[in-house]
Structure formats: C-alpha cells, structure tokens
Symmetry: C2
Subunit: 546 residues, 2 copies
C-alpha cells in the first residue's frame, strides 16, 4: 500500500472539492453569518498566511479563546494544516489556570473573541510565551489592554487567499486541550492528525451517530471541549451543514437555531437539554424542533425522564460518553438490532447506559489490583481504554504515569459492563464534581477551605442538581474555638478570589465530626448518604452561575 | 496518542466481544450451514493452529482456492491474524496463470474446495513452493492426486481452539490478490492490515454503503475478487449477519438466499443482477426480495434499464467502482442531498455514473501528458487515484513503474469527472475485455491468434453482451494463401489449450485489411464502429461459459 498519511488537510480538502457550496452557519448577536465550505477553505488559507506572518512555525501552538463561531472553525483547520497546533482554551477556567495552561502550552499566538477580552487582559502580564494577540471581531478595535494586539479581519484582508499546505506526518500534533485534574494544575492532551482523522472516520459510521452529508449538525458543546466532540472535522469530511451557536447560547437561542436552520442533529451536555425542555414547555407550541432526527447527550448521565420527554416530542436522544483524553468518543448507546423489539422499560434499561465502545477502541474492566472483572452488569471497577485516538500521556507532565499504565488509559471512572458490552458509569474514582459538563475539583476546594484558619476539616461532594446535573456542596468541621462563630458566607468569601465563580459550593453544611474510613480518609460515601436522607427530594439548591 | 496499530485482529475481536451470537450463514449443496461469530472466532483459532502446524510462519502466504463459504472466511482471518498472508486465488484462471501466481506468491499451503480439486491436481507437479494441500471438505477424503494432502476438518478437530494472536505492525502484509494484466502474467497486489482496516472503516460510513449491524449482507462477488469488496471484514467489524452463497451461485440460489435469510444488501457484478431480474420475471411472483434495502453493482456499468427494473421492485441499486489495486473501493454513487429532489431523468444521469470518490481517497483526471483536465463532465482522461488503501506497487514485478508513478496509481480507465466530482468511465486505456466481472486480455488473445501460421493480423475487441456485459470478438486477416481457407473453428481450436474456455472469443470475423491508426496501430475504435453499425441491435452473440 502507498504511504499515505492521515491528516486534517485531507479532511479540509474533501469539503473544498466535493462540497464547496455546503454551508457553515454561525449565530452572532442579532444576526446569522453564513458562508460555504469554499469560503471556509479560502479563509483557512488566509488565516494560515496570517499565522505565518505572526511567526507561527511547525509545531507551534496557537491558542483560541472563544465561542463556537466560524472564526474558531478557521483556527481548527488553519493551525493543524499549516503544521501548527490549535490549543482550545476553556473560557471558564479561573485566571490562575488560564495562566498556567497558556504558559505550559507555550502558546505563541492567542486568538480571542472580543467579548472575552477582559479575561485575557487581566492575565496578559503573566503570559510568558504569547507574542501576538489577535482579537476576533468585525471591527477594527484592537484591545487597549494587550500588547501586540491585532484585529482578525484586518490581518485576514491583508493576507493572500492561497496557501500551499505542507506535507505532514500523521503523528504530527494537530490539537491540544487541557483537562482539569483532581488536584494540581490542568493536564494537557495533544491530539495527532492520525488520532483526529480516525476519530472522524468512526464518528461517520452508521453505527455510531449515522452522520451524513444530509445532516445539519449543531454542536452546542463548546469548541474548547475535546475537539467539539469531533463535530467540526466530521462535518467537513462529510460535507454536512455545520451550525455554530455563537456566544452564550441559551435554550432560546438553541431552539431558534434548530427551528430556523432545520437542524437534524445536535450535541451537548444534559444541562443544555434541560433548558431546551423547559423552553419548549414555556413556548406553548410555537417552538418547532421537528427537523431533529437525533439529540446526542454527553458529559453526564441523562435521567430517564429526559429521554421520555424528548421521546414524547418524537426526538430520540442518545447517550455518548468520552473524555478529553480520548478525543473524546469512547461509547455511544445505540440498540443492537435484537433489542429493537424490546418493550420500553427494557429499552430504557439500555438507554440509560453510556453505551457500546465505538468501533476501534478496546476497553477493560478492572478491580483496584488491575484484575479483570466479569462483564455481568453487576461487578463494578475502573474502566480502562486503549485505541488509536486515546492519549498516551499528558503533555510534559510528571503525572502521566499515574494514568497511562502499560498501554492503557485509566479513566478513573467506575463502571459496570453488561454481557452485551454496554458500559454504565456508577461512580467516579476521580474526586471530581461535574457541573454543567465542566469539571470541578473537590480536592482543590477542600484544600482551599481547610486553609482558612477557622476550619479544621472540610469535604466537598457533588450533589444532584436539576439544571447543572451536579453541584459542589461543602461539609465543614470548624476548629474548636470557631465552632459557634464560623458561617457559610465567611467560607465562600474565602474562596472567591481563588476559583471561578461557578466552582464555589452551593452551600456549606457545618458538622461536628468528619466521617472517616477505616484508613482515616474522609468518607464521602457517608456524607452522600447523609445528604440523600436529609434531602430525599433533592435537588434543592439554587446556585450555579455558568 | 497511543501507538495503536490498525489490524485485522482488532476487527475479529470486535465481532467476538460484542456480537458473538450474530451469524455467518453459508449456502452449501442441499443445505444451509450456520454458525455464530463466537464459533468463527474459535474456528479461526483452530485454523491458526493448523496453519502453524503445517509450517506457516510470519509473512508466509496461504493460498485459498474456493467458493464463498465459512471456511474461506476462516482463512480470511486466520492467516492475517497469525501474521501470515491470505492469497485469494481466482478459480477461473487458466492453468498456466494458476501455476504462475501460486509460484510467484510462494504459497506455502493451499486450501482447496473439494469440488475444485481437479484444477489443482492438474497443475500440482508444477507448483514449486506449496508444501501442504488442505482439502476443504466435510468428509475425510484427502485427494489422491496431491502430495501431502490433508482434509480440513480432521486437522481442525485435532487443533486447539485457542490461539494467542501476535502483536502485528499495521503495515504488515495481510492479503494478496492477483489481477490480470493487459499483457503478460497476472500482477500481484499485497494488502496491508492498515489498508484493509481503513477500507473497512470507510465502508462503514453512512455516506458509503450505510452498512450497519442491522444488515444481512450477501456478497455474491467471489471471495477471490479484491477482498470480496471488503465485505467479510466490514461484516465482522459491525457484527452484521454475513450470508455466503457457496458453490456456483446461480440466480435461483441468490434469490432463494435473499428470500430465506431476509438479506438486506447484496453486492455483485451486473451479470448476477441480470440473472436475478430474469429469474424474478420467470418466478411469477413467488420470489420475494422485499427484504432488500439496497443492491450494489460493480465491475461493469449498470445500464439504465436495470436500475429501472429494480426501482420497479422497490430496490435501489447503487453503482460502486474499484479495482484490485484499490482494495477495491474507489467510488460509490450516492446522491448528494441537493439532488434528492431532482426528477427521475436527472437522477438517472447521476446514477449511471460510477460515483463520488469514497472519503479518504484522492483522484486526478489527466491527459496523456499527465496534465490535469477540468472536471466538467466532458473532458475525458485517465483516472489517477491515491490513498491509504491504494497499492504502491505490484508484488515483485518490474511492471510496477508503469502503473505507480509519482505516488499516484494510474488506473488505465478513461473517465470524465463532473463539476460535482462524480466519476464516469467512458473507455478503458487498458486493452481488456470485462466479461461477467472478470478480465480478459485482448492483447494476449491477439498474440495467440497471430501465432497461428494462417493468420496475418488479428485484433480482439469487447462487444456488449446481455448476460456477461462484454464478450471478446476477434477480427482476423488471414495470410494471403489462407484467405479462403481459414475458418472460425480452426482459430478457436487453436486457442483452446492456451486459455480458460470463457476467454475464447464468441466469434471470429474475417476481414481483408486491418484498420490502422496514424502511427500504424490496430485501430480498434474503427472495429467497434464497424461492429456497432453492422449489429445495431446488439448484443446478439450467445456464447460464454463462466
């Protein structure tokens, strides 16, 4: 066979050659922006020239800090196709984390949405490697608060619209994304061209999401999350219409986009779909989502009522499961053909699971000693994954060895696998809270709370939440002398300058003694049970500002 | 990303782990054989042990000479997964060609269907590398005419049912298939694990054949043809039910299988579908093919009447196009979404084309100087192809340099490409006749005819044929002294011991002078025109014994 590398450039070229008139649609404030894949290609060439002129060379990282728009999409292709790396930065990170990952990634250029400038301006003096800032705006408004700031469209207009993309090796890095750690700084995952290409092929399979050129695909999942779950590359490879929801997509915006653009499939976290259900209920029939053939939900488990609510609208919802380390697809929950005739209850027992591993990945279920457990749907253990789009290490990170062991990625998720091979998450080995699809480290919160002089011990657990799926709740044992004086507001105020606002616990519960396990660790299982029995009709908290 | 090789072993394991109860169904004389993918896996382990015990080592070739059955399927997996190579031998080759390819491939072991033994017994003394012959039979009947002959099931029964498959490199050879040359011996194409794996992924795309676990797939295309067009590997990867048509599948057998096994998609050459149409017409409504969601036709162009005839039965027929050198998929003719609303005539203009290149391949359209031609549906030129499942050379063959040039495979097919990217074959640069999906070299026939002392000049052209799509027709200029005495039967008798019977021209037409081009070459275009004007209601010939 020929030596033929699997690259993002091939994906871009397929859109250009066979689907030049298909569209990329972006919701902007007050308007809809449309252009074709032919336009995308030309703009990717321009952006490649722009990045070259800003000093970006092979292997350099280009950071992007923005909402889902066509400009972000241009960076998704330009950086990898010119041999550089697109670093997708989570706009919800706390300032310290932003500083860390941008410096750690050694980003050379940062592309920033205009309305997100304040977050970058605030940390600019601490960024050690960024040489140039480019503001993604229609206007000629370069930031006053940034050195070497340019505006995107001025640079684009000056650049040539052709670019001779280099031949690349398929193992060359193409993308970079950081994921929160249980403790310590976020960890970076580098995506190769090969990994992204193979992930794309698998996503195009009939038995994964059945994506096709016919689809109008709306990724509500942010483009800074694990390659937008693969959607930008898959859409281009297929020539599917891609609809990008732009800044701050709320339920109304998502519903309107689906209706106006006749979206056939949309992907996002359950928090989005909770909002959509609520919006539809309030719209009194004026909201028509009938163009949808499928909704894909990932990031947290979908409760049965949500499946049923969308069923009632004639819209099948499908579970997908993955993580930053796996590009991200690991499982998708489709029925096997012999299940099609099952009754609704039996089918629901399948749907609530995370699904079958997608074709190309291998999984194992192991106990704490690494011994394989039976796939009986009962025994739970840690899920291990390997395959061509699974990371082999974290970028320049000593912690890699804790997670990538003997060729297997240890997910930290505690799951069962049933005899059919369907994975179901039952707990999380990583001590993390997942709020609205984003990770919150309970360990980091606990350490910060316990740094307060009036706190003796503190533990943070995730509790169920209607909108955000899970929110952090703090249990605090005050020191003896502050047993009667420490209050909730003092604890939260102490955290305010250390974390993003949405990380702060929704509440603080004071207890006299911390339950502990046999080896003296905080026993969060007991705390969760206490919470559940105290609040049997949970969730009750109101917080969260994502 | 992890180093994770793309191998046939992964494909086999997916069937074993997730779809162990799905079936492989084989039509045998007078019965239907069924077993599950779990059984297949066990039998593949046994066969791997058998082959090891017969001396097969990493890289060795295992030849298979048989019909589409489960035993052939076992070889499709056992040889590659143990690190050897499955050499699929065309059972329709002439003895000299068989001897050549088996010796050239250095086959160490030959697996032979019992009813095909005579063909191998006749050439056994000339086989230089084959150490062991294994007869694929239910009975304990080792061939009397072969040295070192074993029977398959006795060896299998003695072998262990577990096998520790080795770790392989994805570029390791997995398969081998020979293709007829315009002149000279057949040329061998080696398939790597990587190439076959990526071909499988592409075949699983919604926008290629939409194959899924739900499908019941019947490849009528022989397993000795270009990896059965990829079907065995794709079926296992998906867990689809695979139906194998066994020995000598005629139209009745194919129709009965479709009806009994509720086949949803079947693949074969137009000759098969002509027979099916005829059989259905004669069955007076007793033949129910309503389980079919798709028929895939490749190997030759499908005439519009055939599309329409299947349309009338509610069965969409789809063109696919490829070749041995491309594993084989190159194009599939699906509509783009914007064509769905076109009227029937406009759609037919798309359907008769060979289709869009499948995702992952690149094509070029070039003139005789290698200059790219416009994709306007008018300009015709040679089709060049490259991609990860396209051969880079012929196996140990000096002719490789004529076909694989500067990283592109030169197909020898003269095509147009329309502005949408759809390829249509308009002529063949290779001087070959394609009869019932098999190649016949007109150059070889001509050379043999001209070797007759009474022949001065001879040219062979392909003429349209109802059943075989194309059949060879010889034009002969006798020498002056034999102008009145040479007859058809003498010419054909002269060819009989040199070629397979189905290669012989259907007729011989004697002419006084051979039309020639400006540079003195036989002008076959003029001969084709003469034939067409003499026989405007072609086809008329009756021959062919495939």
């Amino acid at each position: 066979m020929m030596k033929y590398p699997l690259t993002i450039t091939s994906i871009l070229n397929r859109a250009r050659i066979y689907f030049p008139r298909k569209e990329v649609v972006t919701r902007l404030p007050g308007s809809i922006h449309r252009y074709s894949y032919a336009d995308l290609y030309t703009r990717v060439c321009r952006l490649s020239n722009v990045l070259s002129s800003l000093g970006v060379e092979k292997g350099d990282r280009v950071g992007v800090f923005g909402w889902n728009t066509y400009r972000y999409l241009e960076a998704y292709f330009a950086a990898p196709c010119m041999g550089a790396v697109v670093h997708t930065i989570n706009i919800r990170l706390a300032p310290n984390d932003l500083v860390h990952i941008i410096n750690h990634a050694k980003d050379k250029v940062l592309l920033i949405d205009e309305d997100l400038l304040p977050a970058i301006e605030a940390i600019a003096p601490r960024l050690e490697t960024v040489k140039q800032f480019v503001v993604m705006t229609d206007d000629e408004i370069a930031s006053q608060g940034l050195p070497n700031a340019h505006d995107y469209e001025t640079l684009m207009a000056q650049a040539s619209d052709s670019y001779d993309f280099p031949e690349l090796g398929e193992d060359d890095p193409a993308g970079l994304c950081y994921t929160s750690a249980t403790t310590g700084d976020p960890k970076g995952v580098t995506y190769s061209h090969r990994g992204l290409y193979l992930h794309t092929l698998t996503q195009c399979m009939t038995d994964s999401l059945s994506l096709s050129e016919r689809d109008v695909i709306l990724p509500v999942v942010p483009m800074f999350h694990a390659n937008t779950w693969g959607v930008p590359y898959t859409s281009a490879f297929l020539g599917a219409t891609l609809v990008l929801p732009g800044p701050r997509p709320d339920a109304a915006a998502v519903c309107n986009l689906i209706q106006q653009e006749k979206v056939t499939i949309s992907l996002g976290v359950p928090t989005i779909w909770i909002g959509v259900l609520d919006y539809v209920a309030r719209s009194e029939g004026s909201c028509d989502l009938s163009s949808l053939r499928s909704l894909v939900s990932g990031g947290s488990a979908v409760p049965p009522y949500m499946f049923r609510a969308f069923d009632d609208m004639g819209i099948p919802m499908t579970h997908a499961y993955g993580m930053t380390e796996a590009t991200p697809l690991v499982t998708i929950c489709n029925y096997k053909s012999h299940m099609e005739s099952w009754d609704d209850d039996a089918k629901m027992n399948v749907r609530v699971k995370q699904g079958l591993p997608v074709a190309g990945l291998e999984i194992r279920l192991v106990d704490e000693n690494g011994t394989d457990l039976p796939w009986d749907g009962v025994n739970s253990g840690e899920l291990l994954v390997r395959g061509p789009w699974v990371a082999g290490e974290y970028l320049d990170d000593e912690r890699s060895g804790d997670t990538f062991i003997d060729g297997w990625y240890h997910t930290g998720d505690v799951v069962t696998v049933d005899p059919e091979g369907y994975v179901q998450i039952v707990d999380r080995a990583k001590d993390m809270v997942k709020s609205g699809g984003e990770w919150i480290s309970s360990v980091d919160l606990e350490a910060a709370i316990m740094a307060h002089p009036a706190v003796y011990e503190a533990a943070v657990i995730g509790i169920p939440h209607d909108r955000w799926q899970e929110r952090p709740l703090a249990y605090v044992v005050p020191t003896a002398e502050h047993r009667d004086s420490l209050d909730r507001d003092t604890v939260l105020a102490h955290l305010e300058d250390k974390f993003a606002r949405w990380w702060l616990p929704d509440d603080v519960i004071f207890i006299d003694e911390m339950p502990k396990t046999a080896v003296g660790k905080f026993d969060k299982k007991v705390l969760r049970q206490q919470y559940a029995s105290a609040a049997p009709t949970a969730p009750t908290t109101s917080g969260g500002t994502q």
